[in-house]
């Protein structure tokens, strides 16, 4: 439970343990009966009836409620904690801190002092003490009576000031997390010299906070020396590993369950300190403990998308050939090493053909809550800069922005060593088919024709994207049990974080075994009873779990056909499974429904195991996207109305048209928040504290902020080299290009570049006034 991020999925090419390869190497699906169809979710009933039990919904006999006291200062030493009053408060069962360690927790004293309740608080919201009481109200009462003496230290809450010589030091060794990371290919000076047009611009994107609807939290219960944690998480096995390490327990003694969870977006990839605190409180009270953070705590302490300061310089020839890209950026993952510039330059290096590229990334400490991966780490920020500058270059050379992008579509990954080819590259189709669905040219012509000189201006914009890590990979194990009546149990460790994972997996089973997908019962996201899976993040779940489920289903099918060949006395090679019936091409009279096979009935069930095979060597599996939008800007008030959006996405095979579209619309909606409304406001001058730690002051897009007119254009090209399901991830690419597409549309409408998020009415009015003054 070290304070910095343990989340690794955005770190490319890290070593992962591998499962054995799948036993067969099946041909890609041809025509599918179930896969790809727009089927409602298999767990829709549970989620809509209220019968789905989320971790926050659990109540156990004798359960008490935990709560955490947090540092109100962005930087302070804890010199004394007085809990004497709290212990006497009504309903209180336990009070713990770095200096209040009851005998039952003596084995964890070091963990509590060095990892959980730190003597030096480097951000507002660092845990200082915790209580357990019979109601959450009593727990909150008790927290208020704890008297903490702080030695308040100087702070720095803005990474743009943190490198100044007199800035407060977050860590004694200084505020730069590590040496600036530099990347070079070709020679940018030569590239700029070859260019006909060179543009340079600074961009800034503000820190964004995940705020999933279900608060972070868990319920912890001990049975002797075994611990069970019901946690709202994207990855039960990550939580298990971290909690076991913090408490010095064998993995087998820590069971983590997370069947339903209310959203994560990267903020719930692993355990939190609260997971360990709940476990400690449960041990001390000898009762189950529910610990749900307050909304304010989730703003402070459980992750964010780092702010990014970016300077981009680009050169282009008149014919649209990109000659050079230079990108110098900084960011902050807060007070600990948490990926403040993680993957921030990936699009610069990989999205467009460009021989000369130079990037520099500097990660800086500030006294603020640590970052966690946030839906496509680094990518929306980088897209914000790159896609706006590409748009500006296109205008400068008088080229259509889509044509400029089409001119520079790569077929191999330039960012990766050895320039491996992509397994599939749907970028050109995304651009062409998206533009056609949007009626790009017609709309531009109509806007030009209808321009009326009023103060409400229409405009269109677009942006393209790829996502660095949408191919998934091992390890993953899935077990499928086919009952002799033809129904199926599927066992996998992966969480369905709301993307429709379970539904797609049931559809794959249905495709291979000819059963009804709604007859597939899934056990998942439980380290005690389900197979190993990595966390559902990085858009990895479909490309990881889908091929593994297919492999397990094929293993079942192979065993079933062997059984049938023996019983029916026909050649195995002539047998096929069609809609739950064994069919022999050699002898139609042998056709037998599987529930009529006597040998299967005696055996009762067949169990198949699937393993996720390795990704293709020397190839890159990459989802691509292009998004298009139309806006109306009121030049007097600065208000922007987003009229419509089109998202064209190549994520390989579409596994479920309905949930796929939901991901695309959801990504666009989240991108609207990134671009238009969301901004963490730290009081950088006076107190260093977070000024908008609630949904009233930190604005998410609401039903009034999104267009009802959204269109999903799937570029459905199965990717047989990626994996045996032919699918790539969709969750993250769906949100990458959105912000830049809106910015480009606003420029198209009013002729002013908004280079900083969020594009609020105030910022737009200011930018228009500046432009008027300047021009």
């Amino acid at each position: 439970m070290t304070p910095h991020s343990e989340d690794r999925y955005y770190v490319l090419d890290h070593e992962a343990p591998e499962t054995p390869p799948p036993t067969s190497d099946p041909a890609p699906w041809g025509e599918t009966r179930v896969v790809g169809k727009p089927l409602p979710r298999i767990d829709a009933y549970e989620r809509l009836s209220g019968s789905a039990v989320y971790p926050a919904d659990i109540t156990l006999p004798r359960m008490v409620y935990g709560a955490i006291l947090r540092s109100p200062h962005p930087h302070a030493n804890v010199t004394a904690v007085d809990v004497s009053k709290a212990r006497t408060m009504p309903g209180v069962h336990a009070v713990i801190s770095g200096s209040d360690i009851p005998a039952s927790l003596s084995a964890h004293a070091r963990t509590m002092r060095n990892q959980i309740f730190l003597p030096r608080c480097r951000y507002e919201g660092e845990p200082v003490a915790a209580v357990a009481a019979e109601t959450p109200y009593q727990a909150a009462d008790a927290l208020r009576t704890i008297n903490v003496t702080y030695e308040v230290l100087p702070f720095v809450a803005d990474e743009r000031r943190a490198m100044e010589p007199d800035a407060a030091k977050v860590h004694d060794q200084g505020n730069q997390v590590m040496p600036t990371v530099t990347y070079r290919r070709g020679n940018v000076d030569r590239g700029f010299a070859e260019a006909d047009v060179v543009l340079e611009q600074e961009y800034r994107s503000e820190c964004e906070i995940h705020t999933p609807m279900e608060l972070h939290g868990c319920v912890a219960r001990w049975d002797g020396d075994s611990l069970t944690v019901w946690e709202s998480t994207q990855g039960v096995y990550n939580v298990q590993t971290q909690v076991a390490a913090a408490l010095g327990l064998p993995l087998s003694k820590v069971r983590v369950v997370g069947e339903y969870m209310g959203g994560g977006f990267g903020a719930k990839l692993g355990a939190g300190k609260y997971s360990v605190i709940a476990s400690l409180l449960a041990k001390e009270t000898a009762r189950p403990v529910k610990l749900t953070l307050t909304r304010e705590e989730t703003y402070l302490a459980v992750g964010n998308r780092p702010p990014s300061n970016m300077r981009l310089k680009a050169g282009v020839k008149r014919d649209g050939t990109l000659t050079a890209l230079q990108f110098v950026a900084s960011g902050s993952g807060g007070a600990y090493r948490a990926g403040g510039v993680s993957a921030l330059d990936f699009l610069i290096k990989d999205l467009y053909l460009c021989p000369n590229v130079h990037t520099e990334l500097t990660d800086i400490y500030i006294n603020a809550g640590p970052a966690r991966p946030f839906r496509a780490p680094g990518h929306p920020q980088c897209s914000w800069a790159l896609e706006q500058l590409i748009d500006a270059l296109a205008r400068e050379i008088g080229m259509d922005p889509i044509a400029l992008r089409l001119k520079n579509v790569p077929t191999f990954s330039q960012a990766r060593d050895g320039n491996p080819p992509y397994t599939t590259t749907g970028l050109a189709q995304c651009l062409r088919e998206g533009a056609a669905a949007f009626r790009w040219q017609e709309t531009r012509d109509a806007i030009a024709r209808e321009r009326d000189g009023g103060h409400v201006h229409r405009g269109v914009g677009m942006a393209a994207a790829l996502w660095a890590a949408g191919g998934g990979g091992p390890p993953c194990t899935v077990v499928i049990k086919l009952f002799s009546d033809g129904s199926v149990n599927l066992n996998m460790g992966a969480s369905d974080i709301g993307t429709g994972t379970k539904t797609v997996m049931a559809m794959i089973v249905a495709e291979e075994l000819g059963v009804d997908p709604y007859d597939v019962q899934i056990a998942h996201a439980d380290t005690g009873t389900t197979q190993y899976a990595s966390a559902s993040g990085g858009s990895k779940t479909i490309p990881t779990e889908a091929p593994t489920v297919r492999a397990a289903a094929l293993d079942v099918k192979r065993q079933l056909l062997e059984l049938a060949a023996e019983e029916l006395e026909v050649e195995l090679s002539t047998l096929q499974l069609e809609n739950g019936t064994i069919v022999s091409s050699a002898d139609p009279s042998k056709t037998t429904p599987i529930n009529r096979l006597r040998s299967f009935a005696r055996r009762r069930s067949i169990t198949g195991i699937g393993y996720r095979g390795p990704n293709p060597a020397d190839k890159a599996v990459t989802p691509f996207a292009a998004q298009f939008c139309e806006v109306e800007v009121n030049a007097r008030t600065g208000e922007v109305k987003i009229i419509r959006f089109v998202g064209a996405h190549d994520s390989g095979r579409v596994m479920n048209r309905l949930t796929y579209q939901n991901q695309v619309f959801g990504g666009i909606t989240m991108g609207i928040g990134f671009a238009m409304t969301e901004e963490r406001v730290l009081d950088v001058d006076q107190t260093g504290k977070l000024a908008n730690k609630n949904w009233h002051d930190y604005k998410l897009p609401t039903a009034l902020d999104v267009p009802a007119d959204m269109t999903c254009v799937p570029i459905d090209i199965p990717d047989p080299e990626a994996n045996i399901a032919g699918a790539k991830g969709i969750g993250e690419p769906a949100t990458i290009p959105t912000g830049a597409a809106i910015a480009n549309a606003i420029y198209d409408a009013i002729g002013v570049r908004l280079t900083a998020t969020p594009m609020t009415p105030a910022h737009i009015v200011q930018a228009l006034a500046n432009a008027e003054r300047g021009g």
Binding site: G50, L215, M261, G498, G500, G667, W695
Partner: protein, 216 residues
């Protein structure tokens, strides 16, 4: 937690849209989990009201999903807390406990209301409908069914509140326009961003209710 259940709730208020005066009289915000709640009650209560301490349990009669519950509550307990942690009705979710997200939306005498900002004692004698109350036996009600068909959710955590907000709209406006729907849903956040599908589900729910003869 003492409470009594009756299979049929004969004392439930029947007037749709009629809000009990008593609900308004004791109306105070629960805001943060506040010890201050007790003094607020004292400050705002009319002279005839009984003043109780924050920790003193008070008996209230709640009509929830057609069943009568008599429960002892602290005056500061929100109805969301009582529903979820005391009565096991966890269909009602908590997202912020400060009236910002709408995940806790329930119907009080058919009107959508944030359960996190409503004290249980305010609802003495009123009729409360939660997500569980929209079920028709074991079957989904028409609004829930519409959300299923249109895939109008992802993680599902804001969904009970979204469903209740649509249900509340349709009880007063059986044929809402898109703009009616968007305005009505503006008090319910969805971080997964399923709004466009929610708009479609609201229209589908109106259709289903019409074809099912207005059954809710």
């Amino acid at each position: 937690m003492p409470q009594d259940h009756k299979d049929r709730d004969e004392s439930a208020p029947d007037g749709r849209g009629k809000v009990s005066r008593r609900g308004f009289l004791t109306s105070v915000g629960t805001g943060a989990l506040g010890a201050a709640a007790a003094t607020q009650v004292q400050a705002q209560a009319p002279p005839s009201a009984v003043v109780v301490d924050a920790n003193e349990l008070t008996k209230v009669t709640l009509h929830i999903n057609g069943r009568r519950h008599q429960v002892l509550v602290e005056p500061r307990w929100s109805i969301a807390y009582v529903l979820r942690e005391r009565l096991g009705l966890t269909g009602t979710k908590l997202g912020c406990e400060r009236g910002e997200c709408g995940a806790c939306t329930v119907l009080v005498n058919d009107i959508p209301r944030y359960a996190c900002m409503t004290l249980a004692i305010e609802l003495d004698g009123t009729s409360v409908t939660t997500l569980e109350g929209l079920m028709q036996g074991e079957e989904l009600g028409p609004t829930q069914q519409a959300f299923l068909e249109e895939d109008a959710f992802q993680c599902g955590y804001c969904t009970p509140g979204q469903v209740m907000a649509v249900e509340g709209l349709l009880r007063v406006n059986p044929d809402p326009s898109l703009e009616d729907i968007r305005r009505n849903m503006a008090g319910n956040l969805c971080r997964c961003g399923a709004y466009v599908h929610i708009f479609r589900a609201a229209r589908r729910a109106a259709e289903l209710k019409r074809t099912q003869g207005g059954a809710s």
